[in-house]
Symmetry: C2
Subunit: 202 residues, 2 copies
Amino acid sequence: MEILVPFDAIDPKTRLSPRLDDDQRALLARAMCRDVIAAIRATGREPTVLSTGPVEFDAPTRIDERPLSTAVNDRLEDSDESVAVVMADLPLATPDALRRVFDASGDVVLVAGRGGGTNVVLARHPSFRVDYHGVSIRDHRQQARDLDLTEVDSARLATDIDEPDDLVEVLLHSDGVAASVLREFGFEVVADGGRVRAERTR
Amino acid sequence: MEILVPFDAIDPKTRLSPRLDDDQRALLARAMCRDVIAAIRATGREPTVLSTGPVEFDAPTRIDERPLSTAVNDRLEDSDESVAVVMADLPLATPDALRRVFDASGDVVLVAGRGGGTNVVLARHPSFRVDYHGVSIRDHRQQARDLDLTEVDSARLATDIDEPDDLVEVLLHSDGVAASVLREFGFEVVADGGRVRAERTR
């Protein structure tokens, strides 16, 4: 199985800009990707980072400047093994959660992300292609309608870190590099009667 | 196993008031609870609704006007079997997801909710008590530190419907009563380049 981890090396995590400056967003994005790489490796498999630009990860890297769906579909077309695509912004990912995907049966295995995204795709059928634009989980289900489709129900893999509200999930459910980075930035879990959230307390 | 579904009969789902009026919130809350009851029944078990006031569900109901934690802890103390507490605002719950909880080993089985909550508790040890205030998943982990604790990783059970942003998850991942009610209210999945969300289109 080929496992791709797409990474935006140019301007990652823009929706976090209300809370993190450019350098911090870049640091957090790399930290999250490291957590994902480590979780995949702990399942005994080796990921390839599919990056839009030069990056330094301790993992094989393929640079492809094209849009995400194009770059992934190119691999789906060319690869002669099954291909898994695991998003790089899933710092809650654990080996157990990933194993549930890798071990699932089906021509296509999907894990929905919060807000209609598709956080993990495992394609074992040559006809399947991705389209990450819009409500991708709906489109991917539709595309797999004549195939044997399995969906894996995982909160850890559904939790992509896109917006300020997502940050608290990292602090609550991970001890990885991303959680350390957020703590170094001064974030803590705050519960003062309203919604529980990650706030800078220093 | 005694399975409790706590229901707020007085003023449910207040954080949805920016998008739903009082009657609609009450309708949606009852619809979500019906979905939860149906999913539990499909596992072959019978839930009891633990309600703060009179309600008409097709299920045994126990009325307890006290705060949620007090009412639940009263049952934990009195029951001579294991007790599961499944929140009523989990319309994405499926029999499969619930079976993963009911079949899990451990003195205590927890499912975290988004934002630090605890959406399902299964207590098989007489010393365990709940405290739903604040960051409850953290407190429940702490309380179970000397017990055999299992956490079940489920996006379906992690997705409690509290805020307007949560509504789209119902439309995307459920075909139950709550999804029908939202569609009757005029909600549809909208993706116009920004975040995917549920909007009223009529």
